[in-house]
Symmetry: C2
Subunit: 208 residues, 2 copies
Amino acid sequence: MARWEPDAYGRLRDAALSLFIEQGFEKTTVAQIAERAGLNRRTFFHHFADKREVVFAGQGEADALIATEIRAQPDSVGPLHAAAAGLKLLARSTEQYREGAVKLGPVIAASPELQERELAKRADLAGTIAAALRERGTADQTAVIAGWAAVAAFFVARNRWNQPANRRTLAGLIDESLEQFVSAAVTPGDSTAGPGVPDGHGLLDPLR
Amino acid sequence: MARWEPDAYGRLRDAALSLFIEQGFEKTTVAQIAERAGLNRRTFFHHFADKREVVFAGQGEADALIATEIRAQPDSVGPLHAAAAGLKLLARSTEQYREGAVKLGPVIAASPELQERELAKRADLAGTIAAALRERGTADQTAVIAGWAAVAAFFVARNRWNQPANRRTLAGLIDESLEQFVSAAVTPGDSTAGPGVPDGHGLLDPLR
């Protein structure tokens, strides 16, 4: 084996995801991941803080981009839609990974450990959004609530996007879930499900 | 000591909270809590699953009441306000514990372990609300987003309510944060903080 490892990160990630899908997250060890990638444990920990981080790799790095996109929205755009603009930027860079996300859905749904980490990632993302909204003048309380609502819209959309039969873009699904929420939240009546709601239950979101 | 322990639950809770406030959450052991309460470890674990549960005790038991209150809202009430009605029921039963909540605020803010548990409790509460909203006819996606938005409004309010100088009720603060959010989320402009926003930053919410 060459001393320089070409794309160790990608090989480790592919090996880990294959193993998680084959035998589940909890049963997979870092040693197994490294072995399948033809690398060693030390190389694994050079690239990932722990086994859980493989699943969420790259997510945190998007924070700065999301915040910049939110701050770049014109004043005429309200906080929820400014937040959505940031999340759609994230969505567009995620689109190419749908195949892997389809396979990861059941892995996350089956693992309390991964759900716990996803919850922490959601809180980070909500905090990033709230901070960006405050910087463009949104009142503190509203920024926090809008951050959590936007993140919920993102994950609702993600959990439809990563269904095997889905053919729509993540950004399009984010728009749909947010518009539905905004219209239902402000109209007084609530006794019927609005149009454009193809699926009721059964979405893969253990955290909803 | 009598064989029957009068109000073991309350004594353990009081002892635990005093110790958390005096020496921090992480440094406090279950043995210390039991000793201060004049009880033993076994009695502690009869009442609480672990040390973290003392801080959140009783919160889970409110689920059924919240869901019932949400389902009882007339059809004319939208999902966010129906969710708020459930949370205000919880708020009213919490009002009498403000003194303890003021002391607990910094304890939670200083403990990553407690923040993690609080995040899990938020997810549970959001799920309870979403399920109740679905039962009254709210579309699935909107129910999930409304659940998270309402929970965010609750915690934003809670983190103002548990400030030492606060004199307002938790229910009143929930109403205020939700109304502010609803008006800001739907009005196009967002360049200025609205009225009725006395505090900007510095709220004790490590999870925002």
